[in-house]
Symmetry: C2
Amino acid sequence: MSEPIEFFFDPASTYSYLAATQIEAFAKQHGTTVRWKPFLLGKAFEATGNKMPALVPAKGKYLFKDAALWARLYKVPFAFPKNFPLNSVLASRATIAASHAGQGVPFALAMFKAYWAEGQDLSLPEAVAAVARSVGLDGDALLAAAASQPVKDELRSNTEDAIARGVFGAPTFFIGKQMFWGNDRLPLMAAFINGELA
Amino acid sequence: MSEPIEFFFDPASTYSYLAATQIEAFAKQHGTTVRWKPFLLGKAFEATGNKMPALVPAKGKYLFKDAALWARLYKVPFAFPKNFPLNSVLASRATIAASHAGQGVPFALAMFKAYWAEGQDLSLPEAVAAVARSVGLDGDALLAAAASQPVKDELRSNTEDAIARGVFGAPTFFIGKQMFWGNDRLPLMAAFINGELA
């Protein structure tokens, strides 16, 4: 059994969505598991001086087309959100609350799909509650839990941990101390797990 | 026969080196060919507002380790250059001159290795002449050709063409109109060539 994969993601991040659609099957294929860790990418940008790629127009234009190609490769739906960028604090806290309720991964996947494929505005509590109900959770209870101090603290802690360990973008994976940045690092991670990079 | 792959690269770019070590075998495997196109990445940064990733310290720290992992994956030598960043104008012009002399690809590969694995300072004419001699070219003749107006014009033209087509980083590949940015896009390019993204 390999070390678990820590998966740091932000609901507002395109490539976090793409990676989220793959990471559980990837981990299973490589005999390991995933620890899903929502964090606030905006705080990592502030702490490191990194910036949203879309702030460089030529890069933003390319990355939109690039993400659509990855979605086709992965055979997952993709439609650029109407409300971009997303203030993802609520969605991130809700993902943690769903995890405490035993539905972290199904909620995270449904949440990502609602924003990155179905045009839902996840800054709205009702939209988040609808995602909760779609995975068998009580919407109002989830919203209440998302506003609780332990959940707020866990999101802050995830974010501080990520920044302290060198995270400047999303998604970011750790396998032990080894960090991998980007959906496009899955092949390199596979080689790492298989001992090909030793 | 697929469309040729246009490979825009800058000798100063880490991931251009890594991609350069793979692209000929990649093209052959996928039934196509490569057009090697040196361009001035710094001019693309100026034109688009993009910046060297190493200017974000956390990103620079990660990317150095990341590049070392890719080098292990590819089984190619890698040692971070002492003289970084490189003013790559001379090396880029020399690559074009070597191409005119029928040794473009061998020169480009030797040039990349000299800088990214052997610690040579390719801003020095003598270092560039030594690379030329290593691939059977006359060093002095290559330096003279690299200073000629047609070679200067071709580098400027490659750079203007790249910027006009949306290039903001290196390496950047085109297959027809489809652009791919980064050494890490080779798997996506393979899927594109194989018709999996249609």
